[in-house]
Structure formats: C-alpha cells, structure tokens
C-alpha cells in the first residue's frame, strides 16, 4: 500500500510515532490489540458464497463463483482456484479505476497463497474428469472502504465466503457431463487459515495496522497461520527491515491472534 497513500497527514504520522514511544496507539489500542472485527456471510444471494468483513473502518466484500473449465496442464486432477482483487475507487481517494496494479496483485497473490498452501480447499475433490474438466472457484475480493490492513480482512472474508458457498449436488455422468441434484452441498473446505499483519514503526511492532500506521510504518509483514498453528504463508512488505528476534516475536503473536480469530469466526 506504500507511500502512495499520502492522504494521512504528516502531522498524524508524527503523532502516531510519538504516542508509540509510550506504547500507545492513536486509536487507543494496545500494541497487540486487533480492531473490532465483524463477519457477515451470505449477503450476496446471486453469488455461490459471500462475506462482508468489517475490521475497524476497513470493509472488504468477497464473492465466490463456481464454474466449470479445464484444469492447468501440470495439475490435471485438481480444481482451479482463482483469487482476484479489485481496489475499487470508492474505497479510497487513492484507488484508481483500471486493471489491478502492483498493490492489488500482491494482495491477491498473498491471499491466494494463504488459501492454497494451507490446503484450505481440497482441490482434488473439485476434479470432474481428469485433465479435461474441473470446477473453477473464483474468489473475487472487493475492497469497499480502506482504512488499513486489507491483507487480514481479505483473507478472512475469502475463507468466510468459501465457507458460506453452496453448490448444487451433482453426479458425474459417463460422458463427463454433470447431472445436478436438488440438494445443496458445501465446498470441500478442510482448513481455515487466518492471516495476521504486523507493522514496524520506529522499532515498535503493532498488530493489525490502521491506514495511518501502515503509512507511518517502515516495514510490515503478513503471516498466514493454518491448522495446528502451522505457518503457511509469509510476506514481508515495505522498504524497512526486521531483525531475526522481531520475526520470531511476530510469528508467536500471529499464532496467538490467528487462534483467537479462527475460534471466533471460523469454528464449526
């Protein structure tokens, strides 16, 4: 998200920095506090699945669509997962219409890796005819209001929307065509990864950075945590650096936060 978000004034950034010297954050949170989090699933009936995540003043909508198509040549027995991000311009004065830019592409790829590497979706179960026909799962991420930390909000909204998704049950006929049945089934979800982002501002680490904190930050990092507290994706961002000790501390905190959020919103 970097420095192109100049709409947070220099004064605010200075204030963020000064408060942090006393381990205080501009919105009153402690360093390890997450903002208020809300997950609303199923608002978009025409999508197979959907979820709206509100994280403080950040709002992300995710819609899931299910289609059939051909698999990638190197994974003929796997369904296809496609994650796309649109940073639509109503969410921020700095988002512009047009094809996804670097920031949106990085966000999409990090969310994608969190889902893919944690094997959240059992892609093998989405194969219809090996090498010929598989289900394609489109995860479309729509940022609606941008006040920082799209990585965590987008990952959570994606998993919640996949969890919410329904498709018609089906039988595969001899000719590879699908015969749909009356009842609905869920997608083969087997893991619920949670991404936790931390920003480093003047040697202080703050979890779930707000927009002002993201801009003030020297460096940021997102860690996706899967089953049993395993680490399944990491992405360091911005031009600052981390020490090894800071990294270890961030991993520990991320595991703890991920557990809390998973328990609250993704259990069952």
């Amino acid at each position: 998200m970097s420095e192109n978000l100049g709409m947070v004034s220099k004064i605010t950034q200075k204030r963020i920095s000064e408060l942090l010297k006393q381990d205080k954050r501009i919105d009153g949170r402690g360093l390890n506090d997450y903002r208020e989090l809300k997950v609303e699933a199923g608002l978009i009936e025409r999508a197979a699945g959907s979820a709206l995540v509100t994280l403080g003043k950040t709002k992300v909508m995710v819609g899931v669509k299910i289609e059939t198509g051909t698999p990638y040549p190197d994974t003929p027995d796997n369904g296809v997962l496609t994650v796309n991000v649109e940073l639509v311009p109503l969410a921020s004065p700095k988002f512009e219409p047009g094809p996804p830019k670097e920031d949106a592409i990085e966000l999409a790829r990090v969310v994608d890796r969190g889902i893919r590497e944690s094997q959240a979706l059992d892609l093998k179960k989405l194969c219809i005819v090996s090498g010929k026909k598989v289900f394609i799962i489109f995860v479309d991420i729509y940022a609606l209001d941008f006040d920082g930390n799209l990585f965590d909000a987008s990952t959570l909204a994606s998993i919640a929307a996949l969890k919410n998704a329904k498709m018609k049950d089906y039988v595969i006929k001899k000719d590879g065509e699908l015969e749909y049945k009356a009842n609905d089934i869920s997608l083969p979800l087997q893991n619920y990864p949670v991404a936790i982002s931390t920003a480093k501002i003047d040697d202080k680490l703050v979890v779930d950075p707000s927009l002002g904190e993201e801009i003030a930050a020297d460096a940021a990092i997102t860690v996706a945590i899967g089953k049993k507290g395993n680490i399944c994706a990491i992405q360091k961002r911005k031009v600052g650096t981390f020490s090894v000790d800071e990294i270890i501390q961030i991993i520990n905190l991320s595991k703890q936060k991920a557990k809390e959020i998973g328990a609250m919103f993704l259990k069952g």
Partner: protein, 256 residues
Amino acid sequence: MPNKKGVEKLINKKGRRIDGRKFDELRPIKIDVGVLNKANGSAYIEWGKNKILVGVYGPREVHPRHLSKYDKALFRSRYHMAPFSVAERKSPAPSRREHELSKVIRECLEPTIFTELFPRTSIDVFIEVLQAEGGTRCAGITATSVALADAGIPIKDLVVACASGKIDGKIVLDLSDIEDQKGEADMPVAIIPRTGEITLLQMDGIFTQDEFEKALQISIEGCKKINAIQREAIKNKYLVEKASIEPEPEETVNEA
C-alpha cells in the same frame, strides 16, 4: 433462470407478476446514507434484490490535471459491476455496456449539480453494483443523487429514476431481471422531480406510441414515489446526526 424460450407467463390469471407485484407496483426500496468512511459522500441502495453502493469524491484536485476546466468542476461517473453480481461471473474489466451506462448516468446527473461553483476541481462518482437483478442503472442514479447530497455538494434537486416496460403485452412499472429479459420493452427514465424535466430516457423493445406515452407516465409516477424514499433517507441521516452532534442546516438539498 428460465431462458428466453421458456413458455411461462410473466403475468398470471389474477393479473399479478411473477414476484406477486401489481402492474404499477415498485419492488421494495431501501436507502442508507453515509455508509462509507473514506468517500466524501455515500449511499447504499437495496431495490428488490439489487444491491448497489455509491461513493462520491470531490470537489477535489483533478487527476490527470489536463482534464480540469477553468470555469466549472469536471463531473465524472463510473458504473461498474462486481464479478459476483450476476449469474455468470463477470470479468472485472468494464464492458461496452458499463462504458455506455457510465456516460448516460453522468449526463443524467450533471444538470442538477452546481459545477460552476467549483472550477478546476473534479467531482467523481463511483457506482458499484454488488448484486444485480434488473434496473441497476435506475437504482444507481437514485442512490448517486443521495450520495451527492451526503457529500455536501450543492444540487438543484435529487434526480430519481425508474423504468417501465411491457410484459405479456401490458405496460408495467419497474421491471425485474426476468421481466427485462423475457419482456417486450424496457424504458429507464430519470426526472428532476421539482420541474418534471426528463434527464434520462432510454428504451429498447417495441412500443406503439400509446404504449410509450402510458409507460412514460407510470415511470414518472414511480419516480415520484421513490423520491419520497430518497428524502426520507436523507432526513433520517440528518435527524440522527442532529441528535448526536451540533445541529447544522442541511444545505445540500434544496427541498421546496
């Protein structure tokens, strides 16, 4: 969704439409004002199953700068559909239809905006269709006008839009998706309620002149009902704010 060859009737024996409505009945409409933080003004409309979010930015610096106008604000609008808003996933790249609707929506709204008050700036409207079920342009226009008011941009009046059309040979108000697809004509209309001026008029299908005139009439009547909902939504926002913060006269909408 039944395809075009489907033989089912759009109007049943009792004169009711597939969703139970009468000929001149609107779908349920709900408008929320000021739903976004970053935008200068915003509105969310649910109109039947249409769900549309509108954000307004401006007056602000024009980017790219060479588009700015020395004597008035540059007014721009973008109508865009989310990939998950329709039955088949839609590519996020704007289609020719989205380009056209962005243009007609801009031309529909601009006459009510006092652009001459803000030379060298831009006023930008972003309409995101989160779910579409027929009539998104009318819903988008209706919500955008409210969002412009929420942004505090001086306007002459709220613009309000509503389609009429022909299904099974009858002139009806506010076509749903299936009625649009299987019906014989669709005509989106927008008006400036105070003057009755028509600021958007499109049509496709087949109308005799009589049918056209009747349809135009019921569209205008529909618009008037929806205008009341717009005003109510703004009033609610205003009263709530009044209760919580220092009251301040709402100047953005001149209500007669």
